[in-house]
């Protein structure tokens, strides 16, 4: 029995996760506490919070496991710098200064940060961390595991076979051939920031026609065995730190979209970019379906686990599920690099001989809400504070009246999705309300969809009975008869990224109350954060959000806060 801390850091989405006696005690992304979106720095705050939640001191840790191999990473960087010379000359100093200045010493820094002897700090492979984060958290006895991201040490894509406590790598694809970097290059081409704009591209894709599939397929060749290779002359991620695609890509697809400027999907120019996004999504799905088929063939399993940044593509996950190859599918809710921290901790726990964790049913693994602190701040700011006996009843009434309210309860979520612990909620039928939230609260593009949260017993969607919908990692078709009632949460392609709420879930009281009042148990649920901000963590963050955004009220558990009338 052991206490193991897993850590990811220094690339993007730093995080820490604590596993004690094989069970996940806490998992926290640094951005929630530092309030810096996608914070890559050593997650000192997240580590401290995990240890505090676990009730243990740093020196009591049996192991600290970093999520990737720092020396293999350095080796890959060096080899690529030499291979790409002289094109890599510009990135040479910074890459090496970054490696030599901080990244190489990460194990020493972790030893110092946790006050543990250096020999208790170790590492595992990047894709092994991803695979472990999905397979061990799934609770499946055996499964194929597919890990797809930008790049780890050398591997960009891997198929694993998980059986019991064993995880065996079946096949790999190496850098610079990367589906994650392929998607990133087109994300940059479409004028979105790499590593955070991919969700926007996915939302935009539904508004376009995939009429550039032939051109996009010239960028990536897929073999009959499911493996793929990039057409490297069109890419620059291996030699240019500023732009991940080459000028030949613009010759193929036309000029890139400027980084700034609002979207007008009625204009011919922006419709063309939407068509490129649709083509990119179609080709990405085709590649993933090939990998999925190969994973089934290589492992002979009926269940699939997914992790890596590409696994956050909920639309592609939905396509894989629709194929019927898999009887069960699970996607690690924090599929990106943050999830590597959890995977590293689970690998460490396995090495310590601990039992497997309970299947992940809930992602409320963050710091609990301190309602008292929020109320104290609200009173200092002159906000109206009211404690109510039945917050679900009051909240349901406000939502039915067309108000936009925020809910904060318990520990905050693990991963990029708000699942009721730190959520903005509204009625799912009112399109005007959706526009209001997009324009006046979230300040984001009009094509960004909102998701519905519903009870598992719902009959308004097809195909919700799977292991992904509790975590919003897939999309489901909205039934035709329900589209009017769900107009604000149905994407233009007729799907929705549904969250099914289990008994005891943060949104269950509200949804049950709505059902009891004779309404459909569905709400519009979106993350409680402003543009470019991480999702709210503390009660004080939530009060700050209320003060600075046009919402109608904030529920801190059973306390309602509102602006002065």
């Amino acid at each position: 029995m052991a206490a193991v801390l897993g850590v990811s850091a220094y690339y993007h989405d730093a995080a820490a996760a604590l596993v004690v006696d094989g069970q996940v005690v806490a998992a926290i992304q640094e951005e929630r506490l530092s309030r810096i979106k996608n914070d890559p720095s050593l997650p000192v705050r997240a580590i401290e919070a995990c240890l505090r939640l676990g009730g243990i001191e740093g020196p009591e840790l049996d192991a600290v496991v970093f999520y990737e191999h720092p020396y293999a990473k350095l080796e890959r960087v060096m080899v690529e710098l030499v291979r790409g010379f002289p094109f890599t000359l510009r990135q040479f100093p910074r890459a090496l200064a970054g490696q030599m200045g901080t990244k190489l010493w990460v194990l020493d820094q972790l030893a110092a940060c946790c006050s543990v002897p250096r020999d208790r700090v170790r590492f595992c492979q990047h894709h092994e961390s991803h695979a472990a984060s999905a397979f061990y958290a799934s609770g499946y006895d055996a499964a194929a595991v597919l890990t797809v991201d930008g790049v780890g040490e050398q591997v960009t894509t891997a198929i694993w076979h998980g059986e019991g406590r064993a995880l065996r790598c079946v096949s790999e694809i190496h850098y610079p051939h990367s589906l994650g970097l392929f998607y990133a290059a087109l994300t940059a081409y479409l004028g979105f920031p790499v590593n955070s704009g991919e969700h926007e591209v996915m939302g935009l894709a539904s508004y376009g026609e995939p009429r550039f599939v032939e051109e996009v397929e010239r960028l990536i060749s897929v073999e009959s065995d499911g493996s793929f290779a990039l057409s490297l002359p069109h890419f620059a991620h291996h030699r240019d730190p500023r732009l991940p695609f080459a000028s030949s890509l613009e010759r193929l697809l036309g000029p890139r979209r400027a980084r700034r400027g609002g979207w007008d999907l009625a204009s011919e120019g922006d419709r063309r970019y939407a068509d490129v996004a649709a083509s990119l999504q179609a080709v990405t799905e085709r590649v993933l379906l090939g990998l999925s088929a190969r994973a089934a063939e290589e492992t002979g399993e009926a269940a699939l686990c997914l992790a890596g940044g590409v696994a956050l593509n909920a639309v592609a996950n939905g396509r894989m599920w629709e194929q019927g190859t898999w009887s069960r599918m699970f996607v690690q809710p924090a599929a990106g690099d943050a999830g590597g921290a959890l995977g590293a901790a689970l690998v460490g726990a396995r090495e310590e001989g601990d039992p497997p964790p309970a299947p992940m049913r809930d992602v409320a693994l963050g710091v609990p809400l301190d309602v008292g602190r929020g109320v104290a701040l609200a009173e200092q700011l002159g906000l109206r504070v009211e404690r109510v006996e039945d917050p679900a009843q009051v909240m349901a009434q406000k939502i039915l009246e067309g108000q936009v309210v925020a809910q904060c309860v318990g520990r905050f979520e693990w991963g990029p999705r708000a699942l009721g612990q730190r959520s903005l909620l509204a009625a799912p039928s009112d399109v005007a309300l959706r526009e209001r939230i997009n324009r006046s609260v979230k300040y984001r593009e009009p094509f960004r969809p909102f998701a519905p949260a519903t009870l598992r017993s719902t009959t308004m969607f097809d195909g919700v009975d799977n292991d992904m919908t509790p975590f919003m990692t897939t999309v489901c078709p909205v039934r035709a008869e329900a589209r009017e009632a769900l107009a604000a949460v149905t994407h233009v392609d007729g799907t929705a990224r549904v969250q099914t709420v289990r008994p005891g879930g943060a949104l269950e009281p509200l949804l049950s109350t709505l059902e009891g009042m004779g309404h459909a148990p569905v709400v519009l649920n979106t993350s409680l954060n402003g543009a470019g901000e991480p999702i709210v963590a503390s009660a004080e963050d939530a009060v700050a959000f209320l003060v600075s955004h046009a919402i109608d009220g904030l529920f801190l558990e059973d306390v309602i806060l509102r602006r002065p009338s």
């Binding site: 020396y71 060096m78 510009r90 990135q91 090496l96 250096r118």
Partner: protein
Amino acid sequence: MSHLRTVGDLLRHFLHAQRFFLIPLLLVLFVAGLLLIATQGLSYVAPFVYTLF
């Protein structure tokens, strides 16, 4: 002391038969990295848009 452990592990990694040819480069880069940090020259080199390195 913990830095010595890292240096030892790093050398062991690069002394592997298929990697030893990288050791001279490693030393050059180590010095270059130290110089950039010592002279605060990082702000003069190209910024990274995405962090592959």
